[in-house]
Symmetry: C2
Subunit: 223 residues, 2 copies
DNA sequence: CCTACCGATCGGTAGG
DNA sequence: CCTACCGATCGGTAGG
């Protein structure tokens, strides 16, 4: 009896170690791939970063593509927990839209990913290389855009936005502002573009923008 | 006398051949790098694509970085002639802003670069790799953004846009819409997102958006 | 999870 | 503009 228990414990322990190692590999893979890209990520570099051998990495992933797929998955888990889920606790409609965007700017500023938004980079890099990895990135991207569209639709129903507001159009605008801010932030390493992004989003959602040099009233379009 | 003339002709001919080869290399380099990235671009692949040897490529470029710098330069010349310069023939202010954006959407649709906007990809890829290449990409990027800001300022002066319009904010919004459209276009290979982008830009610039299912009057914000 | 190895390709050079 | 080569690294495998 104790033999079986002992063996079960050992198996559980070993699996737990394996899972921890796998998680550590993926954590490093997500980090490195936001800097070097999903293609630029190499098993050799990854192993060196972790202080282990290439064979050790291959014990957890059958191929580079397998590693890339798991890396996209792991990045999605991080993005969901760091950006999407916190924003979903805000009130439905415009407050949630604002929370998505602010959460995005914040995750850049906190450098959740050292090379900027994982999915912005992955989308442009893998968009030209059709295959399972591109499909997984596209799936996440379209899910995020669809989520924004749904919340815009809710905001319209709640009369927080005008009835003719096109959800797809506003989703493109908001997503675009996030992408442009990410690009400038990565390029110039300057957080001031994130403040500009925050102001743009507030104005577009019809919210007051407080700046030192103007009163909220002046924000109204006088035409 | 004829010897010098002969030699000059030969030299000119040889230089012309060399220039033509160099231009052909850069044309292929721009094309390949929008698909594989500026780092993913390899001298071997480039030579194979051109049907020449690696040594032939190294006869024109001292190093990969030298090739990358020339590739960014060549992409800039293409982007200027295909997008920026045609737009500058439009009337100053809002018409020029519209022309920049329409020109950008058109250059995607015409597949001037097979892998989408060269600079969108290059900015995200090289943003995390500081050096001469990143600086050249950043220089072009900031020049484009500055150009948009200047034209917004002109539009405000011409009273085509409200006096409180923030040039930096509108530049971020327009640039963002272009980036979001590029990302979706590359990812899903679907030109319909370009039409969505065109509508978004027109609306943001206060221009009539004609759609089958609504009159321009309905586009006004009823709040 | 390791060492030791495979063929292919990388950026780059020598010499012509 | 070519061939022939360099050391380093790539993704991946074998065997333990």
């Amino acid at each position: 009896m104790w033999v079986m228990a002992e063996r079960a414990t050992r198996t559980r322990q070993r699996r737990a170690d394996g899972d921890r190692t796998r998680a550590a590999i993926l954590d490093a893979a997500v980090r490195l791939s936001t800097v070097d890209g999903l293609e630029g990520l190499s098993i050799g570099n990854l192993a060196k970063d972790l202080g282990m051998s290439k064979g050790g990495v291959y014990a957890h992933f059958d191929s580079k593509q397998d590693l890339q797929l798991a890396t996209v998955e792991a990045a999605g888990v991080i993005f969901r927990s760091e950006v999407i889920e916190p924003a979903l606790t805000a009130d439905p409609g415009v407050p949630q839209l604002l929370a998505f965007c602010d959460g995005f700017f914040d995750h850049l500023e906190r450098r959740v990913f050292p090379g900027g938004c994982f999915f912005a980079g992955a989308a442009l890099e893998m968009g030209t290389h059709r295959g399972p990895v591109q499909e997984k990135v596209a799936e996440f991207h379209s899910g995020f855009v669809q989520l924004i569209r749904d919340v815009v639709r809710t905001a319209v129903q709640l009369r927080q936005l005008p009835p003719d507001e096109d959800p797809a159009a506003l989703a493109l605008e908001l997503n675009g502002t996030l992408l442009a801010a990410d690009t400038s932030f990565v390029m110039y390493d300057d957080p001031s573009v994130l403040d500009l992004g925050r102001r743009v989003v507030r104005r577009r959602l019809g919210l007051a923008v407080t700046r030192r040099d103007e009163t909220p009233e002046e924000s109204e379009n006088p035409q």
